[in-house]
Symmetry: D3
């Protein structure tokens, strides 16, 4: 089980009310390669992966929930003072008539999150490559959003998150090697 | 952020290997009214709900993640010793060719989870009725699964979970009353 | 069965050609909490709800079809004289290349309607809370659209529809009380 | 608007409690080519089709709602006396844990209805061919269900419905000819 | 099996970098009536259609893959020199944060392609009407895009593609007549 | 463009009419990690990947279409002599009432294929890891189906396909190394 602690993994600051940036960030909230997808993917795979990797999945999965909370906080801060007219100017009018200023698990184009984005095959090597790909895709998404952003405070948080994805990708690659080595060793005896 | 603690909210026991029961439980894992839907719904609504209700949503949302973990553990225990032939006999052959014995966020019929199941309107009363309905629907789902189950150990856990939903429903109804009262008081002055 | 009568439940007027308002109204045509969702939800639940509530569901479900027709008429009137360039300026170019000026059951962001938005659990209390939540969410959606609209003629129609949702919500709440009372009475004897 | 009249378009009889047949019929309730798809498709196309065809679409669309009600009644009659064990034996256990004995807009495999099944292009010829195809596909579906059914009472109703689809297909083909003729006549002058 | 030949069915030219036009063309890449839908629909129906029509489906299906490649090339050429700012101005910012300048099988509003758009009933007449409707709908879509486009080079390619759809529609109508005639002849003996 | 050649990449044989095996194979036809997903993923990524990798994607993408055709042929051969009763006994009754014996792009549980299964990020490393993961997941799926199959002729074909996925995975891993090396070399100068 999880215990909630009322703090963020890394401080979230935004320079100004900027609903357009919020719109882009929704991609990392409920998009194909966003933090929700990441957290749910890893937490779910723990039951069929070799024991050796369960702790890694729990750690990274739990951290991704913390990232999800950071993204939620960013979106909230970027929009909390926005009037309906400002949301309209930011291309968020579709969002407004459906959700007002509430958050929702969808991508930047408004497509609701679906479990079809993620996978669990029961084969440890396949599942870990799924995870590496997920981290690389999340890294790319952060890059595209940073390219679009001109908010230095926000970018500081986004860069932190992008770096975490790179580290996770590296750790999943190490896990592949550990499992492959073990598999090969078993074949010898 | 959340901290993982390696224990279940309530002990999970199953009497025998029983993949057919596992198939039913998948409904509460990744179905329309399952624990994933519940946890994600409440955690997401926290950013636009009045401060007074944020703590309630955090508490119940966090608890639903603990329920999700209990359901995952139940499914795992009911299937971990099942051969492909046993999965086939249990109507889980579709699951097997796609996921082996891994879990997946889908309903009992194999339809992947979608955020279309849940909602956040930004209107506190609407969101809380959404939550009450969610708890009532989860309660009903637990009842239908208990009706199908003949595993006394499993049923003990399912009854615990069903009772929690009833309590959550009650707490959301109280929250509606608190907010309505406050709204009415504001109108007077 | 239903008989078609060639009139609207309430007169629909619009002040000017305004495809941007039409775009918002699509949310109530084919969105998660729109009139299609409402009508189909109630008509469908009639077969497993106690006899006492069947008439209520038929009445409200049939009325929601009338609302759906009103929304369709509003969208039609707001767009019928719009040129492709006006649709483009209103953010309806995606709609135009797929549907020209035809209507379609999708939300304001262009996501097609799905039955995943609605539910029927077979449990009368759960189903009625689903219905109350639906009405509260529809009420909120009408409010967000009215906030975005500056067409007084259209707003007259939208306010009528919003009021109807409030009345429906009240009637569903009464139905919950009737069923609970009956359930409690049965327990006594 | 529509007025509800408490009678069926054609009497629905079933010989015995037979949830397996009910499962097949769900295909015509909420499947890709079922009655819901038909009714919603025609009612929606009325706003952009030439005036000459509006009445035809209203008539057939309204009749399809009557068919939807007939299918609902068939499913209800085939399942109302079924125990959970009988639903299980009929392959409806997935349905039961989610919906008890309530109906739902999904196909026989349990996939929820989506507006992606239907289309409205604003081009009258394209829309009418969409409608002809819809009727031919519904006719085929009725045939496949009749092939699976050994209930003579049910089959009487299914044959009635199949015949209606054939007549609708014919009427849509006539509408194509009328519009083409008119279009050609216009080109002459 | 298919052999790739490194040339396009018809030369693709575009006058200028124009990401807005690219956005419209995505409708024909991954939309409901686009080239992907067409190609996959025909290739799939070959296994249950009478032998007489298999060759026609293979020919047209293979040609639709060539059209898909033409559309991909058009989109690529219209966007390859676009900066993130130009994509933003063209309403492609949602696309950019998810896919950078990569293509994706979605419609102009960003909804991912789904097989729910197409059908195969096993009934040859129903399947061929599905195909005729598909061609008529694709023709209409090309028309709506041409109406939106002011790029004469692009329009040359689009007109070629529109004409091909008209010819395919004609050929599918001939196939219906051939099969009907054969069916009637069989009934005589 | 592609040219159709009327032969299979590898001969397809099946020992007996066996619709249950056909049901499993549908997973590789229209499932998340099936041949359709593979072919479409690679063909689509060609427009934003570095030139060096375009040929590889074209080659493997084209080969995956050949695999798709082999799977289609297997399903066809396993079911072509099946009666409705045999389809029913094989758990294909849901398929039958919707599609008769036609094929359809869905997974073994009947969920239609969606482009949400695949991705294209525009970042070459991310896209290639997506491709490696895809091949590893397809390999696993073939293994699960082989585990379920007792048809030696079919298994010969399935083993061929599984081996091809392993080779493709290897080639995508080599492509990652080539691109990384090039990237590092560029950084030096």
């Amino acid at each position: 089980m999880w215990i909630y602690e009322k703090k963020l993994q890394y401080p979230v600051k935004v320079s100004t009310c900027n609903p357009r940036l919020a719109k882009y960030l929704i991609e990392q909230y409920g998009g194909a390669d966003g933090e929700l997808a990441a957290a749910l993917r890893y937490i779910n795979q723990r039951y069929s992966i070799p024991d050796k990797v369960v702790g890694l999945l729990t750690d990274i999965g739990t951290e991704e929930f913390a990232h999800l909370e950071m993204i939620a906080t960013m979106i909230y801060k970027l929009t909390k003072d926005a009037t309906p007219d400002m949301l309209k100017a930011a291309g968020l009018e579709d969002h407004y008539v459906n959700h007002d200023n509430a958050l929702f698990y969808q991508n930047a184009a408004g497509v609701p999150w679906t479990a079809s984005y993620i996978q669990a095959k029961g084969d440890p090597i396949a599942d870990l490559y799924e995870d590496i790909a997920a981290e690389e895709k999340a890294r790319a998404t952060y890059q595209w959003i940073i390219n679009m952003s001109d908010d230095p405070d926000l970018n500081d948080g986004l860069r932190f998150l992008r770096e975490r994805e790179i580290i996770h990708s590296q750790r999943f690659r190490e896990a592949v090697e550990i499992l492959k080595e073990e598999r090969d060793r078993k074949k010898i005896f």
